[in-house]
């Protein structure tokens, strides 16, 4: 069963809460996704608008756990301070740690990431690092205390799927016991299923659902594909082969020529 930092979970889909056409659509999508974890963020709040309070009430109503992120942070200090503020606001030790290193790809700065992870683990956080498929970076993240890894599939919001299946497969093989989540870049259910078939433990999505024509339906599609991929991984798929093999037995075929 999936387990993040001692927390057992049934659903293997983590869903982002941004970019939905409306709060109602967001709520509907979260529900039909069956997600037990949603990602959230922090932004400046004016006492007049109180947008944040309304959002919070919506999230609380969903009964899911929240995984706050440090989206948009480019420095260790910014990420660390944001994480602390998130812990106070959301009252959870969980943090999706993003330290962005480049604007076009929004890829992690693996140097800043490891350093920020080190500090936050020491400060008692349970860190979910948004990282690459680099094995050595992964080892460093675990060495500083991370117990979950979240490699990207492709750039955030690109919907490209899994850019480097070989790298992801290697990472999976290298850390058999560690919960691995493909985070970012997924565009279609088949991408998510493929990640799960490789043995990944979960998938984190946002844009592919929020920006779909029908977010609630797409959310459900992803949850099915993720379950399907996981089941396939556990059910022992056939090996692929180059040549054909008749599915219908040839023995006993009538002679009719």
């Amino acid at each position: 069963m999936l387990n993040f930092y001692g927390q057992a979970l049934d659903s293997r889909l983590l869903l982002g809460t941004a970019q939905y056409p409306s709060p109602a659509v967001l709520a509907e999508a979260v529900q039909s996704s069956g997600a037990q974890i949603v990602t959230v963020s922090l932004r400046r709040e004016s006492s007049q608008e109180r947008a944040g309070q309304d959002f919070w009430n919506l999230i609380e109503g969903m009964g899911t756990r929240v995984l706050p992120n440090t989206a948009g942070c480019h420095s260790v200090k910014e990420a660390v301070t944001t994480a602390h503020m998130a812990r106070e606001v959301f009252d959870t030790p969980w943090i999706k740690l993003e330290v962005i290193g480049e604007e076009d790809t929004l890829q992690p700065d693996v140097f800043g990431l490891v350093e920020a992870a080190r500090i936050l683990c020491e400060d008692g956080f349970e860190v979910f690092p948004y990282t690459t498929d680099d094995l050595v970076v992964a080892e460093r993240l675990m060495a500083v205390g991370c117990e979950v890894l979240m490699p990207w599939g492709a750039p955030i919001g690109s919907g490209r799927g899994l850019n480097n299946p070989y790298g992801l497969r290697t990472l999976r093989a290298h850390f058999p016991g560690v919960p691995l989540v493909v985070d970012a870049g997924i565009g279609l259910p088949s991408h998510a299923a493929a990640a799960m078939e490789m043995g990944y433990d979960a998938v984190l999505l946002n844009t592919a659902v929020a920006r779909a024509g029908d977010p609630a339906r797409m959310a459900r599609a992803f949850s099915q594909a993720i379950e399907a991929g996981r089941s396939a991984f556990e059910a022992g798929p056939i090996e692929s082969r180059d040549m054909a093999e008749p599915s219908t037995p040839v023995m006993g075929k009538a002679f009719l020529s």
């Binding site: 982002g16 809460t17 941004a18 970019q19 939905y20 967001l26 990602t39 959230v40 963020s41 922090l42 932004r43 400046r44 709040e45 004016s46 006492s47 109180r50 947008a51 944040g52 309070q53 959002f55 919070w56 999230i59 706050p68 992120n69 989206a71 200090k77 301070t81 602390h84 503020m85 998130a86 106070e88 606001v89 959301f90 955030i156 919001g157 946002n206 844009t207």
Partner: protein, 65 residues
């Protein structure tokens, strides 16, 4: 006193952070605060005196991916 609040200039009378939040009527809002780039935990706000030119950040929950 002149402060920067969430990046905007503001003229306030409060002299500590918790008074400021009262003056700005945040009430029971679920927020976190930072002063000049350093977090100020809820419990420390009353003891955090403000000086002219201080930069205060007040953040709340928001959609995220």
């Amino acid at each position: 006193m002149q402060l920067s609040i969430n990046g905007k200039p503001a003229d306030v009378s409060a002299t500590d952070l918790s008074a400021l939040l009262l003056e700005l009527e945040y009430g029971e809002a679920r927020i976190a605060t930072a002063l000049n780039g350093e977090i100020v935990h809820k419990g420390d706000r009353a003891a955090t005196t403000l000086q002219a030119g201080d930069a205060i950040e007040i953040v709340a929950p928001m959609q995220g991916g």
